[in-house]
């Protein structure tokens, strides 16, 4: 598939999970394609980075489900920050572990999972819909019943994949990309390079095969598809460009870098550096 074909299957009002973590291995080519479409009014579920920042800046988010948004080397995501400060979208702000167990619940077709997190904190105050559950055993402890974060669609980016949707990560951290795919009705995997199935394990251990094809709807070959976030070991974060992103007013940034397709993006980035 192409990135634009993926986006043609997304609709306004959807709940969309986005893989990676902060400014690490984000499916940015798919996000850029999404920004070229008119899909909007999204509920975005993400360990937030520039994916959240860009979609927020472009006014595509109705509700954000996240424990944070950050650019890692730049701690505060400027566009997420600006959008929150102008009250641009609703938010379900939950803890990092609550978020993970919400994905696990969705992947396991459970309505919730008990989590020892949230109680005592204002996560409970700002999410009045959160319920607690008391252990039916002798301990009687009360936990948050973290609701399943079921997704209409998931977007993730990995290093390699075959045409069938078997996705491979070659960096140090899988993040939660397999869970995003399992929690979604449709998952789209972009990758640096599509390879033959046999090539996946020629030089890499089988446990690098993070994403299984039965959880994947479509595969997109997107070289540099995580740019400007990191995609170890293929490339690190483009810190200089990330700084440009963080310091350029959004309309200017969008006009200069996001007006055209992925090839236009790449040449605009090349000219800028």
């Amino acid at each position: 598939m192409t990135a634009d074909q993926v986006v043609s299957r997304l609709h306004s009002g959807m709940t969309l999970g986005i893989g990676g973590w902060g400014s690490r291995r984000k499916p940015m080519a798919l996000v850029r394609a999404l920004l070229r479409s008119d899909v909007t009014d999204l509920t975005v579920v993400s360990y937030g980075g520039p994916d959240v920042g860009m979609l927020a800046a472009a006014g595509r988010i109705r509700k954000l489900v996240a424990p944070f948004a950050t650019l890692d080397s730049i701690p505060l995501e400027p566009h997420f920050r600006a959008a929150r400060e102008r009250g641009a979208f609703d938010m379900m702000e939950v803890d990092e572990a609550m978020f993970m167990w919400g994905l696990h619940a969705a992947a396991n077709r459970l309505p919730f999972l008990p989590v020892r997190a949230g109680i005592g904190s204002d996560v409970m105050r700002v999410n009045p819909g959160l319920r607690t559950v008391t252990s039916p055993y002798d301990d009687g402890e009360t936990f948050v019943a973290m609701p399943a974060l079921r997704l209409d669609a998931a977007l993730v980016h990995v290093n390699r994949a075959d045409r069938l949707g078997n996705g491979q990560y070659l960096g140090p951290d899988p993040y939660f990309d397999d869970l995003f795919c399992e929690a979604a009705d449709a998952a789209y995997v972009s990758c640096e390079r599509v390879v033959d199935t046999a090539e996946l394990t020629k030089d890499a251990a089988p446990q690098s095969l993070l994403i299984k094809r039965h959880t994947v709807t479509g595969v997109v070959e997107a070289p540099n598809g995580a740019h400007f976030t990191s995609c170890a070991p293929d490339y690190g974060r483009d810190e200089a460009f990330q700084k440009t992103y963080a310091t350029t007013p959004w309309p200017q940034f969008a006009a200069r870098f996001l007006g055209g397709d992925e090839q236009a993006y790449r040449s605009a980035v090349g000219e800028g550096s």
Partner: protein, 247 residues
Amino acid sequence: MTEVTGTPFLPPTRAEYCVIACAEAWRDAGEILASPMGLIPPVGARLARLTFSPELLLTDGEAMLVRPDGTTEGWLPYRQHLALVTGGRRHVMMGASQIDRYGNQNISCIGDWERPKRQLLGVRGAPVNTLNNPTSYWIPRHSRRVFVEKVDLVCGVGYDHAGGARYHRIPRVVSDLGVFDFATPDHAMRLASLHPGVTLKQVREATAFDLVVPDDVPPTRDPTADELRLIREVIDPANTRAREVGA
């Protein structure tokens, strides 16, 4: 026995007292993960690992568990890290944009959450950390803006909100002025030690709530000659610590 040779050492800087105060958080911690944030706490954690707490586990800041020389000894991606938190075998030292007298911490936003005056990071892992493993705090610039009467959003749970939760514990708060703990009957924050050169008046003026101050406040302990050598020559020769706490 360690023999100190070479040029005589300059006296410890404020940043180096902060390193010692952070390192002490992990004394007698056993075989657990030290999760330091910021610049000075990682120097402290490595100092503890190299001296009085050799069993500590340390990460490279990403997905690897590493020995002090950088040798990888384990793998700890985010999902395993979050699972390790709930197992309790960890002592994290987080930052705080605001902290109050009972140790409630805020890193999410300033002002009303619904529409913040200043959006910060988000709650991150503070809620899960504070209910599951010892959580200490590091504040490089002690001020009334940070040490507040009441935090705008409770991210890390303080003693008055914890309801006696089984694994809740805030061992210490370290700032550039001193060390604080909650060893009081109602777990209100107490001044535990002053860094040399800091006065009680300074601390009081930089704190927006009434601190519990014992009759005798000890100074933060001096680094040993060996500790100073390790900090300056082995752990932090680039002097990143001075970027966080200046002279």
